[in-house]
């Protein structure tokens, strides 16, 4: 292939070139201006944080909605559940006579065991207290669950 004669800038364009060069180019689409100039706004306002949240929302929209719904449900349950304080709950407790006697017996046994007393000689002030179960207790050196300061 024979290379064409090279051109120089001083050459006058021929009619063909002039004809072509006079054909006007199409302008860019009208909406492109706004699109091009809108691209600068995030940088001008430096709202990178807003961009982060926007992209997070777009990427995980349904997960965020699910979390919000769960949190709303938890908060609603928390707010609608009635609270009962310990003092109120105590005042509402009904102690029967049998329960009181049982507690008294347990207290007596516990005291006798802890202090290593002989239940046969121990004063029983409460008439309702049950008889001591001496047969079940060892004769010597009763077991104690608690260390005492007394020297035996």
């Amino acid at each position: 292939m024979i290379p064409p004669d090279s051109r120089s800038d001083s050459d006058i364009p021929d009619a063909w070139e002039t004809r072509l060069s006079r054909i006007p180019l199409a302008p860019p689409p009208p909406d492109l201006r706004a699109a091009c100039l809108r691209t600068r706004e995030p940088h001008r306002t430096n709202d990178g944080g807003l961009d982060f949240w926007r992209s997070l929302w777009l990427a995980h929209r349904w997960a965020i909605r699910g979390l919000a719904a769960a949190w709303t449900l938890i908060t609603a349950l928390y707010l609608t559940t009635p609270e009962i304080s310990v003092s109120v709950a105590g005042s509402r407790t009904v102690w029967t006579e049998e329960t009181l006697q049982f507690v008294a017996r347990q207290r007596t046994e516990l005291m006798a065991t802890g202090l290593d007393w002989d239940l046969e000689r121990a004063p029983v002030s409460d008439d309702s207290a049950p008889p001591a179960k001496t047969s079940e207790r060892p004769k010597t050196d009763p077991p104690t669950a608690f260390p005492t300061n007394r020297m035996s």
């Binding site: 004669d5 120089s8 800038d9 072509l20 180019l25 860019p28 691209t39 600068r40 001008r44």
Partner: protein, 170 residues
């Protein structure tokens, strides 16, 4: 110093037409040309044009030329239908009331698509930007003689391709 947004708007108003047409002629795709122009101004917003630049049009054309070449190469790598794209009818030139003139302009746009992109870019810059070969050479990083040769190749191909149509409407 001018306000940056105002400067960007003035740059757009002064050069967007030329940049868009050049990108459209190179990529042969309006969507790509739109993307490139937006990318160009996105970059300008992040990093303004150096103050030392005297020829803003040349600097912007050079910048969008590199963007377009990158886009063309990536597109050619992604799929091998660049030839098909190059034959897409493009609204490269302004419309005209005369149907013959409109047909000629459409034929010219198609003929430009048949040129290799290195010749197409030189022909475009010479004919519709009025750049000298020296300026084209600086813009494209090629020797001036290479720019002149590519132009001559391209213009002769266009002449041969469009001669029947040109003679008909002459």
């Amino acid at each position: 110093m001018a306000d940056a947004p105002d400067l960007l708007e003035s740059l757009y108003d002064a050069h967007a037409g030329a940049l868009f047409a050049y990108a459209l002629n190179l990529t042969r795709s309006e969507a790509d040309a739109r993307d490139l122009l937006q990318d160009q101004f996105h970059r300008l917003a992040r990093q303004p044009m150096p103050e030392a630049v005297r020829d803003a049009r040349g600097w912007l054309l050079r910048s969008i030329h590199h963007l377009a070449i990158d886009r063309i190469r990536r597109r050619a790598t992604r799929d091998r239908v660049a030839d098909q794209w190059s034959k897409e009818p493009l609204e490269l030139f302004a419309t005209h009331a005369d149907p013959d003139e409109t047909a000629f302009r459409q034929g010219l746009a198609e003929a430009l698509g048949e040129l290799p992109e290195d010749q197409r870019s030189v022909v475009h810059l010479k004919l519709w930007e009025g750049l000298t070969f020296e300026a084209i050479a600086r813009l494209l990083d090629i020797p001036p003689n290479t720019a002149a040769s590519r132009y001559r190749y391209g213009i002769d191909k266009l002449r041969a391709r469009l001669r029947p149509l040109y003679e008909e409407i002459r």
